[in-house]
Structure formats: structure tokens, C-alpha cells
């Protein structure tokens, strides 16, 4: 077992396989105390293996993160399945149904926008702060591309991606935000955990501007998204 720090919270992982230790190498903590400890049973790992053709060590890491994500809402932190890119110290999150091109769009940001870095390409954590702002954090779980760093930044906006024949960006309505964001959260577990997450979601929907980007695979799409969100972020915070 070993201790990692996520969003500044020390968490102990009781692992059977060494894969998760390698996965978490940039998040290891030298602290000895921990806020909570997680482990995965053999049954859970076996169950996870049935969901896809993945080896047990990888499945264990998924089970461990799932348990972490069930506990973190108690710390005002929750997972949002998305890709988060940082530019000039501000984070922007992209969410899309799988297959829409979240990774492709992320790669375009890196190419088209100077100074853009991927904070986490798949499973970042968001923390609702007491002042109403949101901070995005990197995690060891960052998708098959392995795009991610151990860092954090204030979240500027959330953008839902759709494929289109031309590049258009607009603000999302509250109804769209609710129906789209539900797919990106991990809403499972006990009533207490889910209630906590929904209370955080209630704060999240009014904490940030939301966008729908209909886009082609082009650097113009990335530039349009970035310039619009950056400009409006300044207006939103007024």
C-alpha cells in the first residue's frame, strides 16, 4: 500500500497489483497520515474485467479510483469525465459523448494555442471552493493517451463538444447543461454520496459559463473555442 495526494488530500491505496503504483508515481505523497483508505475486492476486479477486455491490474486501478470518487464528494470534490486544458493558468474543460472527438479536439488546442497544456485528458477532479469558484485538478487517471500532469488551475468554463460541418460556439441553456453534464458525472453509490454530488452540481451549474461547440476537426475550432471562452470568462467574473 502507498499514499497519494489528490487535490491536497492524502489517500491510502491498498493495492494487490503494482500497476496502480506506476500509474500514480507522480502523485505519491511522503505523508504518513491519510484522510481515508481504499481497496478493491477480487469480486469487484473480476466484475470490472467483464466490462471490457482488460487485465486485472488495470481493472484494480479503475475500482480504486471509483471508490475514491465515491468518498471525495464529502470534501466538495467530484469527478467530471472530461478533458481539461490549461492556458495562462486557467483551465477549460471539454465534455463529449465518447467517440465525438474529445481527444482530437484536445490535441488541436495543444497545437493551435501557444502555452496550452493538458491537465488531464479523461478523469480530472473538480473542487467547489467556499467562494463559489471551481478548481480543476489533475489525477493519475487520465485516459488511454496518458495526457495529464500533477497540477491544478481555476476552471474558467465547461464546453460540450458536438461534431458539425462548420465551427460555431454558443452559450448552453441551463436545460442543456443539466442533460449533458449528467452523463459526465459518476452518480452512483449511496444516497448520501449522491446527495452530496447533486448539491455540488447545483453550485457548479451557476458557477461557470457553459458552451456548446459544434466543430470540425481543425485548428480554427480550437482557436474559436479558446478566444470565445477567454473573452467571456472576463465578462462572467464581473
Amino acid at each position: 500500500m502507498f499514499i497519494i495526494e489528490l487535490c491536497g488530500i492524502p489517500i491510502r491505496l491498498e493495492n494487490r497489483y503494482s500497476y496502480v503504483e506506476r500509474l500514480c508515481k507522480n502523485f505519491r505523497s511522503s505523508r504518513r497520515d491519510y484522510a481515508f483508505s481504499v481497496s478493491a475486492t477480487e469480486e469487484e476486479i473480476a466484475q470490472e474485467m467483464q466490462n471490457g477486455n482488460f487485465p486485472p491490474d488495470y481493472c484494480e486501478s479503475i475500482c480504486l479510483y471509483r471508490h475514491i470518487c465515491e468518498i471525495l464528494p464529502g470534501y466538495h470534490i467530484f469527478i467530471m469525465h472530461s478533458s481539461v486544458v490549461m492556458v495562462d493558468g486557467v483551465a477549460y474543460a471539454f465534455a463529449a459523448k465518447s467517440g465525438v472527438g474529445k481527444s482530437t479536439h484536445t490535441a488541436l488546442w495543444i497545437k493551435a494555442i501557444p502555452g496550452a497544456t493538458v491537465l488531464n485528458g479523461d478523469k480530472p477532479l473538480l473542487r467547489m471552493n467556499a467562494d463559489g469558484s471551481v478548481t480543476a485538478f489533475g489525477t493519475p487517471w487520465c485516459g488511454k493517451e496518458g495526457w495529464g500532469i500533477n497540477s491544478s488551475a481555476p476552471l474558467g468554463a465547461i464546453c460540450f463538444l458536438e461534431r458539425g460541418t462548420e465551427n460555431k460556439i454558443r452559450r448552453a441553456t441551463e436545460e442543456e447543461v443539466l442533460s449533458k453534464i449528467a452523463h459526465q458525472l459518476y452518480l452512483r453509490g449511496t444516497r448520501t454520496t449522491i446527495d452530496l454530488q447533486l448539491q455540488l452540481l447545483n453550485r457548479l451549474v451557476s458557477a461557470l459559463p457553459y458552451y456548446v461547440l459544434s466543430c470540425t476537426i481543425s485548428e480554427e475550432a480550437a482557436k474559436l473555442a479558446y478566444t470565445t471562452m477567454k473573452r467571456n470568462k472576463e465578462e462572467f467574473s464581473k
Binding site: 441551463e174 436545460e175 447543461v177 443539466l178 442533460s179 449528467a182 452523463h183 452518480l187 452512483r188 453509490g189 449511496t190 444516497r191 449522491i194 446527495d195 447533486l198 448539491q199 452540481l201 447545483n202 451549474v205 451557476s206
Partner: protein, 87 residues
Amino acid sequence: MKINKDFTIQKVGSSFVAVPVGETSKNFHGMVRLNETGAFLWKKLTEADQTEDSLVAALLEEYDVSEELARKDVQTLVHALQEGKIL
């Protein structure tokens, strides 16, 4: 009418959402979005066994609406919940 009680209802933004908890969450993914009356009726259903008439009566007691409109609201919700196998 008996409702599946493995749901939690919370206000998110200007609407309400019902999300499955516990065992139900393993088979039912996602959330049901409700307006204020929908959330009110859902709560009534979790509190006690209801009929269409008792739900209409509850709505009329709480809100200043016509019986016709109240019944329409009840029928719409009941139908949607039955479709989703929640009721």
C-alpha cells in the same frame, strides 16, 4: 400506485432531478429531470401509496390551479414514470 423509493430528489439550478441510489443505480443510469410540480408529486408518491385522485387532490391543496390542469399534470407524470418503470 407505488414508486421505486431508491431515488433521491434534489434541486439543481432551476429544476429538480431524481437520481437512482443503491441497487437501482446499478441498472438505471442517468437522471430524471422534473419541474417543481413533478418533484412535489414524486415526494407525495414516496410518502404514501397514492391514486390519481389523491395526487390531484394534493396538487390542488398546494397550488392554485384548476382541477383540469392538475389532473393533466398528474397523468403526464404518472405516464412518464410508468414508461421508465419507476412506478
